[in-house]
Amino acid sequence: MSNSILESVDAAGDSTPGRTGTSAGTPASTIVMSMQQALNRALDEVLAENPKAVIFGEDCGQLGGVFRITDGLQAKHGAQRVFDTPLAESGILGMSVGLAMAGFHPIPEVQFDGFAYPAINQIVCQIARMNYRSRGTLPMPITLRVPSFGGIRAPEHHGESLEALFAHVPGLKVVSPSNPHEAYHLLKYAATRPDPVIFMEPKSRYWQKGEVNLAHGEAGAGSPTGAKVMREGRHLTLVAWGAMVARCLQVAELAAEDGIDIEVLDLRWLKPIDAEALAASVRKTRRAVVVHEAPLTSGLGAEVAQLITQSCFDTLRAPVERVTGFDVPYPSGDLEDEYIPNIDRILFGIQRVLEYKRG
């Protein structure tokens, strides 16, 4: 990336340094673990705390799920609480509705993102509407875990990003964690809500380790519902979720070498979106790029961009850029690095915004 970018950056009002300090001594309740471990621990605690919580899906029981997120839970909590179903996603989600009506808190798993499609009818027409249809008498406290997004060279339909679909459905809430700490807290939060939450797990991050501060509400846990500034910066806001947050943080480090100070906002909740956090960040930085893996057209990036434009129209120095997957089916492993926004493409997006000149 050429240095010319910097030249077009006009100094932002805020003088906060580019990075948040996390180097201070970690609290006692902080443990280093992978996202897989964090999710597993959250589920274990949810089962222990709520006798009505039940986990089920394909291979969730003895196998512990193909990603081992439910590893050991059947052995510990019993085959009544954690069980395998036949191989039918509509069945799994439809059954969740009935269990919820009977007072349970179902935590079903769809084995991979692409296999949520056979269940969309039950998700959209039943789970998302039963509370409404029944005028609040039949709440749907269902936490649907969906291993999501790409990046692991998997077979077809194993690398999909369905957040735009889910976020458009009235009656659903949607969240995606970006690291083990977020994963632990967001899953515990989601799985104790009285409304349906689609929990999109970035499968390419399952095995990355990170610090988890287990204490709820302690510094670092942050708000369970809003977006979160993962890195402060003055020149431009990168908005991302799931696996793209880590990539954006990398990009920010690289850009910093060129003197460009980037703020990275982890959106976390994809529905409802924390519009205030978007506004607050971009009012400061005056420029934004939104990054996601899903195809461009009608992706959630459009919503994020429009929310920013609505709230920051006067402040924005350039139209919000979107760096996303293309309008093509998610490709095979050989081409997935071409498809998923990579560091270069994000840097190009940043460059376009920084170099934008009013015509």
Binding site: V54, Q80, T85, P86, A88, S90, G91, L93, G94, M95, S96, V97, G98, L99, A100, M101, A102, G103, F104, P106, N121, Q122, C125, Q126, M130, N131, Y132, R133, S134, R135, G136, T137, L138, P139, P141, P170, G171, K173, R193, P194, D195, P272, I273, A275
Partner: protein, 344 residues
Amino acid sequence: MDTLPVASGGAADPLTPAQLRELYSLMVAVRHLDRSAIAWQRQGIIPGYAPELGQEAAQVGSGYAVDTTRDFVFPTYREMGVARTMGVDMVAYMSTHKATWHGGLYDPLKSRLAPIQAVVAGSVLHAVGWAHGQTLDQKDGVAMTYFGDGASSQGDVHEALNFAAVMKAPVVFFVQNNGWAISVPTERQVAGGSVAARAAGYGMPALQIDGDDVVAVLGATRRAFAHARAGNGPVLIEAMTYRRGPHSTSDDPGRYRTLDEERDGAGADPLERFRQRLLADGIADEAFFAEALAAAKAEEEQIRTGIQALASRPGTEMFDLVFQETTPALQAQAANWREESEHV
């Protein structure tokens, strides 16, 4: 067809004369309300309705078997007769046809009747989940789910039958095979000709019964409930009946079946059949029938008055009933709506 092991306990006990008369009264009430609802639609009182004419025996007979202290029923859009039999508030029930609220205004939890379901086969899996909940809770409630011959083609029905059988869930799958799915007759819908015949493939007992004989329907349903309640798993009942009316008030059956075909297909009227039987068995007389009809008429009038008096729901409910925990974005939209719609 009957592959259900012979019932133990009281499931097959004969009905008392009082019960038989009650069944008749229910059938007359349902028949009269159903016919009236079509008239309401013509008069502009309600925008649409899906009549159950001819299915009174199937609906009253099966609904009568439900124990509303512990069972739970999952209807489609055509089970008015089941709702009435279960004692659901009929103004609240009929409100869905007045376009007041999808699903109806009755309380599903108290009435033990899930909201009215417009997705064909949409709630069949819900019954399985609810029933499995009974197993997990070690309770003895049974879920009964209604669906049609047309609905039987949906993948969800297969998934539900398989899940229920694998989990031995206490579910009664009650199929009203009324010969038609809108314009498509059963023979071009149900390969093999019988939904009940499918049950064997899941190792599930099934009954194919005369759905126009209310006593037979009640007996079969009681047996099925007893079987499921005893922990023996699900049962499928296919009640053979006939949709005597149009699919809905917007349908025109003349486009796909002749009146002759209709008469032949429908056979004897289930209500008239039952009347003759009660007469023949000396269980009821003309005075009773007249009384039952009068009661039905009075009831209909009351329900019609209630429906006519029913106000639209306030628009705020659109927003307030989406979630248990609302969101700032939704509240902002509600505020915006209020401003723009009320202060113009």
